[in-house]
Amino acid sequence: MSANGWFQIGVFLLVIFLITKPLGVFLARVFSGEKTFLDTVLRPIEKLIYRLTGIDESHEMRWTEYAIAMLLFSGVSMGVLYLIERMQKFLPLNPQRFANLEPGLAFGTAASFTTNTNWQAYSGESTMSYLTQMAGLAYHNFASAAVGIAVAVAVIRGIARKETDKLGNFWVDTTRCLLWVLLPICLIGSLVFVSQGVIQNLKPYTTVELIEPQTVQVTGADGKTTAQTVTQQVIAQGPVASQEVIKEFGTNGGGFFGANSAHPFENPTPFSNFFQLVLIFAIPSALTYTLGRMTGSQRHGWAVWAAMAVLFFVGVTTAYWAEARGNPQLVGVNQAPISSQSGGNMEGKEVRFGIANSALFATVTTDASCGAINGQHDSFTPLGGMVPLINIMLGEVVFGGVGAGLYGIVVFVILAVFIAGLMVGRTPEYLGKKIESYDVKMAMLAILILTFTILGFSALAIIKPFGTSSISNPGPHGLSQVLYAYVSSAGNNGSAFGGLNANTMWYNTSTAIAQLLGRFFMIIPVLAIAGSLAKKRIVPESVGTFPVTGGLFSGLLVATIVIVGALTFFPALSLGPILEHLLMAAGKSF
């Protein structure tokens, strides 16, 4: 580890801290219908949209109506994406004349982008037409992010309101999120990326002559290997910058290119790398301030932020330490950071970013449900690779996905105050609302769906040939590959460990089901909690009320998150990355 690396991590956390309040205030104003500086331009557009679509913006919804509107919106748009993928050969903006996607891959990808997962069992530059990338995938990057934020806002309203069964209007929340938050910042952000060298065009791919021809071994259909000299290279083009910004700002993570943010056309400079990191955490961090502002308890918002920051710091420290100490099996190799090398375990990492920025990116992208990568998590050391795995297993509540992080941590807050209430023998309260059995049941449903999905599918995949045949490494590393696939899918993260051939009928369909369950079967009980909380009356604070504002609360929240995660996943982790680490120390690698 180096002072330079720590400095960059420190600056990153400082920037996130500094933007939390202004962006949080802006979000609160947008979703409370208060005046903002963008109203002059956007309000007429918003009104026009409502007039064209027949939406009554004054209509407030119960939680069930809100949930059904969200499900119908997501279901229909998932179907449209499936059809675009299946018909891209016949549609315009396909200069490379890519074929239609196979049904399994089209279904998996449609589910993936609808659920904000963006798990990619393909390389975009060799599979997707420009139309599919823009009208299909980028549309979902915006829409799924807006859905997540809308749900989070509905949950905040449920906590803030009293003696009502109304949580707001799903269509209004989604529209305002798109118009006021996502589109303006993405417009500016895409120009920032263009300034750094990210490409933005609709040109056919460019073919160039290689300066130095390469000789490669090619195995033909008859199984014979022949030598071929390659003199040309095809360089992919496309509308990358406009998709890059929402990829991070909406914590989507689906890259235009297969190499994602390790590709120089997606992430060309140290500044673009830093900007991507900030974009990932911006909204999730700001929503904690929005929570405090809309519920009238700003200190509660900061207490939640502090719990997230502690878990983030522990994660990034572990990943950075594990990667910086290098590979103990490379005996006699200088792995120390010196002026000519980053040092540490550089396998699978970009030399441009080095150890610190790779460890930071891996931590940030899995704390949030982003899934963008700038290095191969599969090539991390066992303990370094375990950090992204654990981050997702904890429910991606360390800042988390846009909206998903906030409503995810509210579930843990409910559990934390419930546990605190049990410990002191009083009815638990959360910001003046009594937490009852129904709220805790719904919280447990939200948590158990992830556990059930991840462990169930992983168990099936590692005992059946249709699952094991895709594993590229034996032993505990192979288990980690499978486990990571379902953790990433159910957690709606979308990052891949690498090494697993996920483009098979089994993995395309099973990961799609995991993504759908992990997204919608979590949101439904969370909205039920919001509906239940909104109905309650406020009870005055008493000496027995557990405060949800100080360090004690933040500590209890961290402990709740860690204990639930550890109790659920420790056995699987011990057979995967922990065992691999111990075997590596004994001289065996996979």
Binding site: T64, L71, P103, Y438, I524, A528, S532, K536
Partner: protein, 35 residues
């Protein structure tokens, strides 16, 4: 295969709507909170 996947999508979201109803029913008839 297209029919199967489209049917699966419709089935999933139909089940999700039923899940909404199930969660709502779980909350019906629960005792009122105590002060």
């Amino acid at each position: 295969m297209d029919i199967i996947f489209i049917f699966a999508t419709v089935l999933f979201f139909a089940l999700a709507i039923l899940y909404v109803r199930g969660c709502e029913l779980l909350g019906k008839g629960r005792p009122h909170e105590h002060s």
